[in-house]
């Protein structure tokens, strides 16, 4: 089995590419997922992933199956929704989660309308969500570039972001960097979602952010260790999911997420930092 699997990666370029894409996504998704979790924003990733749809659809309609146009469209839609949600939360009595929910639903509905105006081409949805098995050079470059940028920027905003997450009042009293750090964090989130969106599909890109981070939280309380563990778990789940997809014929994206889910379930039971066994 293991030898068979090794030969699969040696024999097929698409397996190596899928693994490389998942590595990039796991590396960048780990810090983002960790902070989403710590800031109680785990569902924000999912909401924003849906908000990207009209932008990517418009990009596709304007320029066809072009990575650049779809990326740009998705980025604009994601930023607009994230910013509007933040503005509404500051200017009105609505909390940010409520305004985000409202804007992402509107955005999603708009995307479906845009898609359906192009005749009855429902199939466009399938084109917008890419497949992890079909990563070409430009998509891989995009994923690697976004991952590198994410890690670099995270190094810059790590201190204010961590402080703001732990004690926003204290940070506000000593520095004004909390707001900008949050904005940059949201921008990184949108960037990663857009890259993952048409490279791998929403399920896989959001799943590789949230599940490994939640799992890591059950084993450690240190933020740095959580991020490292989440990245390792994400990559291991990708490897296992690819192997399952290769050996059993399961669809690849869901197989990867299910593998991450199994580790998560085991950690719920046995995790040292807050798992069921540790609490009993």
């Amino acid at each position: 089995m293991s030898l068979d699997l090794l030969s699969a990666f040696a024999e097929f370029g698409f397996m190596r590419r899928a693994l490389a894409g998942c590595l990039a996504l796991s590396l960048a998704g780990a810090p983002i997922g960790t902070f989403l979790l710590l800031r109680r924003m785990s569902l924000v990733g999912d909401a924003l992933a849906h908000a990207i749809l009209p932008g990517a659809a418009l990009g596709y309609l304007a320029a066809g199956l072009s990575l650049g146009a779809m990326t740009l469209g998705g980025l604009i839609a994601g930023f607009v929704v994230a910013l509007l949600a933040g503005l509404v939360a500051r200017a009105t009595s609505l909390r940010e989660d409520a305004s985000l929910a409202a804007f992402y639903l509107l955005s999603l509905a708009l995307g479906v309308v845009i898609i359906s105006t192009r005749g009855s081409n429902v199939d466009l949805l399938r084109v917008l969500f890419g497949s992890v098995l079909a990563l070409d050079d430009p998509t891989l470059t995009l994923l690697a570039g976004v991952a590198s940028l994410t890690l670099l920027v995270f190094a810059l905003i790590y201190r204010p972001l961590a402080l703001e997450t732990a004690d926003p009042g204290f940070l506000a009293s000593v520095s004004r960097s909390g707001g900008p750090a949050h904005l940059v964090f949201m921008a990184l989130l949108v960037l990663n979602l857009v890259a993952g969106f048409h490279a791998l599909g929403t399920l896989l890109s959001v799943g590789l952010m949230i599940l490994p981070a939640a799992t890591a939280r059950l084993w450690t309380r240190s933020v740095g260790a959580m991020m490292a563990l989440a990245a390792a778990l994400g990559f291991a789940s990708s490897l296992a999911g690819l192997a399952l997809s290769y050996a059993q014929g399961w669809p690849t994206g869901p197989a990867i997420i299910l593998c991450a889910g199994v580790v998560y379930a085991l950690s719920l039971a046995f995790g040292r930092a807050g798992g069921l066994a540790a609490r009993a």
Binding site: V122, L133, A247, Q248, G249, T252
Partner: protein, 299 residues
Amino acid sequence: MLNRRALLAAPLLLAVPARASQSAAPMRVLASFSILADIVKKVGGERVAVEALVGPGADAHAFQPSPADAGKAAAARLVVVNGLGFDPWMERLAAAAGAKDRIVVAARDVPALKAADAHDGHAHASDLDPHAWQSAPNMRRYVGTIRAALEQADPQGDYAAGATTFLAELDALDADIRVAVAALPPNRRKVVTTHDAFGYFAAEYGLAFLAPKGVSNEAEPSARDLARIIRQIREEKIPAVFLENVVDPRLMQRIAAETGARIGGKLYSDSLSPPDGPAPTYLAMMRHNIRELTTALAP
């Protein structure tokens, strides 16, 4: 009492001349997708006004009718569906619109083939392969069925001329395809295409079509499916792979990159192209397909 009856009957009398003048206007026909609409147009000519619910370039497998579509079905004198599980939504739609007795199943007289791999997950309602129009002899049967239905719905119309002309064109098409396939070396008569919609074409003309995704484009492919097809292309030295007009082309490019097979042009299987495209009619579609196939497979 008598007066009242006469009054009630008056609109009926008025309706008679109205109906006579109406028969000069084209008869409204609704077809489930673009290829059927083209056949109806060929047979009916000026006498029918035909509309396709799933227009050129769109995917009939994933179609979801809107209330406006039900209105179109209610207004049509004849509703043409393919059958064989291709467009079950259309029969439901027509039944809901009260047009149940005006439905004609175009593939009624076609000897149906089993779907290539009916055990894998796919979206068709039966385990038959519905893409019967991909063979010219089958299309002759479509023409017979559609002509009979048109004549029944519009007894005053003359549909013999359109049908006869089209049948002659189909015979010429059939002969041309056979000549083109015969010119290929036997070991190069196989291709890979994303959507396994060419079962009837394969059976009729002796080309082999392999698909990485099963009979429909519904299920997400697994790494195993992709590995199998790549291994198969390498081992059997399949010369060409084809992108279909309705499915994610990135997967196909991946396969071509890993096998060195030639990437053929677009094949049209489930829908026609828009009028300015290479396959705006059924005949143009079939001629376009065989041209693309022979170009890619020529040694």
